[in-house]
């Protein structure tokens, strides 16, 4: 079978086409999902792509989280459907309480676009199994509201349960607590991160490396072997 992976377009989503391309490059069937449509069109997994949905007005992800498509996604995610939130998608997942904590403006108050080194801390999730724990990868990072915060208790719990999925290496680009770049839920099906693996799937384009491809091949293997 070919895995069907949906990518949601909210008003103001920017990296939807890139995510659809990454799904295709990795060998699955990309499916466009529309924010007003509750129907997920039989996809096996969903990606919430980067961008500025609703202009990031109010708070990043705060308005999109209430869209019709999110109702279905929240329900399905709780039932185990794999969901990946990239950047704005990660912000939406925290606003929707599918992932704990919140995203705040970068501590230096500027938008930052850079090639970011990360360590994969958990290669057991639906979206990271093609990496190995401890592996170092480089993918582009670009955001205004990338500072991950949560209270100490939540942070300790995330660490204890191995749910910190990615950590920033070399530079903490936004002041995220404990250098957290990405996390997963307890079941490991929902993953959110600030950097953009979909911009690192083709040689020569973007940073020219393909370190991000593993996200997409991980999920495809999981779905096809399921």
């Amino acid at each position: 079978m070919t895995a069907r992976i949906g990518v949601v377009t909210f008003p103001g989503t920017l990296d939807d086409k890139d995510s659809l391309r990454a799904v295709r490059v990795a060998g699955a069937e990309p499916v466009s999902l529309w924010h007003r449509d509750k129907d997920l069109h039989q996809v096996d997994a969903v990606i919430l792509a980067g961008g500025f949905s609703y202009g990031d007005y109010l708070r990043a992800g705060a308005i999109s989280r209430f869209s019709p498509v999110m109702e279905t996604i929240i329900e399905n995610a709780r039932a185990g459907m794999p969901v990946l939130g990239i950047c704005n998608g990660f912000q939406i997942l925290t606003e929707a309480h599918l992932l704990p904590g919140a995203m705040l403006q970068n501590n230096h108050l500027h938008f930052i676009c850079r090639d970011q080194k990360l360590r994969v801390e958990n290669a057991e999730t639906a979206w990271t199994s093609d990496y190995s724990t401890g592996q170092e990868i480089s993918v582009p990072l670009k955001n205004m509201d990338g500072r991950y915060v949560a209270d100490e208790r939540v942070l300790d719990e995330l660490e204890a349960e191995g749910r910190v999925t990615f950590r920033y290496l070399d530079v903490n680009p936004n002041g995220s607590l404990r250098d957290i770049a990405g996390i997963t839920n307890a079941a490991g099906n929902v993953v959110g991160l600030m950097p953009h693996p979909e911009h690192a799937v083709e040689p020569l384009i973007g940073t020219g490396r393909t370190d991000g491809l593993g996200f997409f091949t991980s999920i495809i293997k999981k779905l096809v072997n399921a």
Binding site: L58, A62, T94, A102, L104, Q105, N106, L109, V149, G175
Partner: protein, 86 residues
């Protein structure tokens, strides 16, 4: 039309770099004696109809679920200009 104001501030334990940047700039601009600055958001809502308890409790709910993210923010609701015409 009545105006209700919702003020949203980061919780005290959360780092507020915007407020800090303002505070750090003040002495350079010649303003001394400000020990701390916090920056938050102010929403001015123009409410149709009476701002009674029912309306206020709805606005409270709106603030709690939407205008503020209570993981990181606190909020207050104040009626600023009840019942006068604009």
């Amino acid at each position: 039309m009545a105006r209700v104001v919702v003020d949203v501030m980061l919780k005290p334990e959360i780092l507020d770099p915007q407020g800090q940047a303002v505070q750090r700039a003040l002495p350079r601009l010649g303003f001394e004696g400000i020990a701390d600055v916090r920056q938050g958001k102010r929403f001015e809502l123009e409410v149709e109809g009476p701002v009674d308890d029912a309306a206020l409790s709805r606005i409270h709910e709106m603030a709690e679920t939407f205008l503020a993210n209570t993981v990181i923010e606190d909020f207050t609701v104040k009626v600023e200009k009840a019942e006068e015409s604009k």
